[in-house]
Amino acid sequence: MQQYLVQRLLVSVPVLLGVTAIVFAILFLTPGDPVRTMVDPRATEERVQEIRVQLGLDRPWPEQYLRWLGRVLRGDLGVSITAKRPVAQLIAEQLPFTLRLTLTSFVIGTLLGITLGVVAAVKQSSWWDHLITYTSIFWFSMPGFWLGLMLILIFGLWLRWTPISGYRENGALILPALTLALPQMGSLARLVRTEMLEVLGEEYMKTARAKGVRPFLLFYRHALRNAIIPVAVLLFLNVPWLLGGTVVIETIFAWPGLGRLMYQALLQKDFPVVQGLLLIIAFSTVVANLLGDITTVLLDPRIEQA
């Protein structure tokens, strides 16, 4: 296990380095002069060049990359062009909001998805199964933007059960969390159902039934334990998906977080912020993949031996 972990960590290093190179390259690939976004549009070319030299943007790009990487490794993600404050500080301020939203939706989506998937598998071909299957497809297929607006219209405007936006009022988290959780719940429920049906059809399950194992133990200790392995991987892969999905959801619900920060930074061409956020997302994706691999090994040690 230790060897496996070390191996995976070593493989992650070049992946992360590659990501940093791509993130850095965005500055050069994006059309337009980034220095021009930092100055008065009436600034002379001499003034623009002066700022370019000040920021080291006149240096060859490999040198710029290494300097930038050095700062990143020291935790310095640069200064936001529009906010005039360290990018790391901006991210630290907004991160708790995104974590609150994504963790809540992750928990809701996971619990509901697994539960519904198990019920659908256990009650195969019943009206429970059909209801869960079709509604799962519905939730999974709905674009987040549309789903969020529909929830606002129904529960916020018409029924007035929940606040529409913001984060300060009680219940403000409900609609944005549901908007992120419901598609996740839909995809998980379908996957869990499929895996459970496969496991329930195995010979050892028939043996367990024949031996008189109680249904609860049969389904949750024996069947789910084996069905959950691919699901566990998907759960961790959902983490970066959730982070990316917050761009739309946080904007619709006026929820302060990294998603909205990214949206604003892209609109304003605030490159240091965009780069910093991309690094965060890339890093979390690599870590999520790593955790997914470790979890898989813990659940099924045969994978490590293979």
């Binding site: 994006t30 059309p31 337009g32 002069d33 930092m38 100055v39 008065d40 549009p41 009436r42 600034a43 936001s80 529009t82 906010a83 005039k84 404050r85 901006l90 301020e93 907004q94 009206w127 059909h130 209801l131 079709y134 509604t135 519905f138 607006l149 529909m150 606002i152 219209l153 129904i154 916020g156 405007l157 018409w158 007035r160 606040p163 529409i164 936006s165 913001g166 984060y167 300060r168 009022e169 904007t251 619709i252 619900f253 006026a254 302060p256 909205r260 920060l261 949206y263 604003q264 609109l267 061409k269």
Partner: protein, 538 residues
Amino acid sequence: MKHYQWLVSLLFVTSLLTACVAPAPATQSGDASGESTGESTRTTLRIGASAMTDVLDAQQSFTGFSVDSIQIAQPLFRLDPDTRELIPDLVERWEFAEDGTSLMVTLPGDARFSNGDPLDAQAFKDAWLRYKTISPYNLDLEMVEEIRVIDDQTAEVLFNVPPAASLPVLITAFGAVWNTAVAEEIGDEAFTIAPVAGGPLMVQDFTAGSDLTLVRNPNYQTNLPLVENQGPLHVETVEVRLIQEEVTLAGELETGAIDLAVNAPQSALERWANNPDIQLYDYLEPGYVGIAMNLQHPYFSDLRVRQAIAKAVDREAIVKVLGATASPQYTFINSAMFAYSPEMDDYARDLHPHDVEAAQALLAEAGWADTDGDGIVELAGEPFMVEFLTSATNTQLHQASQVLQTQLREIGIDLQIVQQDEGFVRDAMSAGDYDIGFDSILWLDPDIFLGVLAGSWRNYPQYDNPEMVEELTAARQIWDPAERTAAYAELQQFWLDEVLEIPLWERRSYVAARSWVQGLHVGPNNRDLYLNDVMIVE
């Protein structure tokens, strides 16, 4: 019933329920001022805004025109919404020299910043010098040669040229008096989110990109003639929330979760115009949205082609699609701008009226003809096909471009609409890497045209005329309003004759407020949200 039929029924019922959101009853849109009629029942005003600055200190910001900064700081002057003349805000008295090369200001003797520091002549001088040093727009004050402190209340500003072109800045948070002593003490970085100034409100809490809580400044006083209450506000707290999504902003106002929506979404205006619970305050934006053609492009270098396009355009049809937020405009300087000339309105309207036949004749005169009968004119075998570059995120511009496409098709021009990121569009058009597109001007002073039609920093038409640059440079230095108006009228006539751009529509923006918000004054644009007399009477 089969299982899938249950699903269909469920979907149908959900759609039906959604569609049955009760429409609001009708009301008329309001004027730009209100009166308080009762006792205040709540002392917190909640504002929803579709944009919010990340930097509250306007002197360090790129976006100092936002609704938040102007509530924290206090400029020397403002603009009268009706006459567009300067009116006092912070100043007690002021006097420009006859030639505009100096300005004497007298501040109230007991003026204080929100933290109690004296807001005197020295503080004013320090603030403007800081602006010259630190602001990304420091060129706005490049004409300030020297600021002399005469006594505690009085300062004299000496200009190397009259500051007519800089007035749009001086009447905003950019030109306001910020407490530079606090900025030096806590550092510029900290001052971006916790600035101190003398405006009606002061910062209590700020979450960048989300919300701002302001509390009443007990030291605030003003000389604004527009308002009854010239001391501290009636409301104690103002909460500003950033709500970018239109549906969300509209929903929050309709449910009463916010009291006021700045930049009211167009999609809700028709609904709110007939809603007695919502008041609409509208104001005209300075500038226009129009067609910019790359004059270095071989097709558009021909004046007859540009004239043909000007005659093919039907502004009425375009503004019909855009709704209440647009009205036709023919001139470069509209009535919301300085140096506006009503005579140029008439001249422009008569010069290129909508006339498809005349447009076709002009193209024919330029050598364009539809030789193959496909509806598109050709010249030397080349069809008149050009790319219309527009922003992918601006729905209004996209709608207008589609109408334009149809209109130009009538005269045989094939417009291929290309949508790109806004930044890409701006850069491409500035570099001349485009055929034809939209130009959007939003500025109070016609000095903007020095950059837009002649300069090197945003000259979408790629027009090069040194003589015109000289005239524009001279016009920016004219102080006498009548003389300035005449100079810009002459320039406008040239621009219209040469069809350097084709103004299409002027923008009208709206502030929407719940009926319980009384005493609100708005205008002449949304940066001027006067909360002095506001009371919440529910």
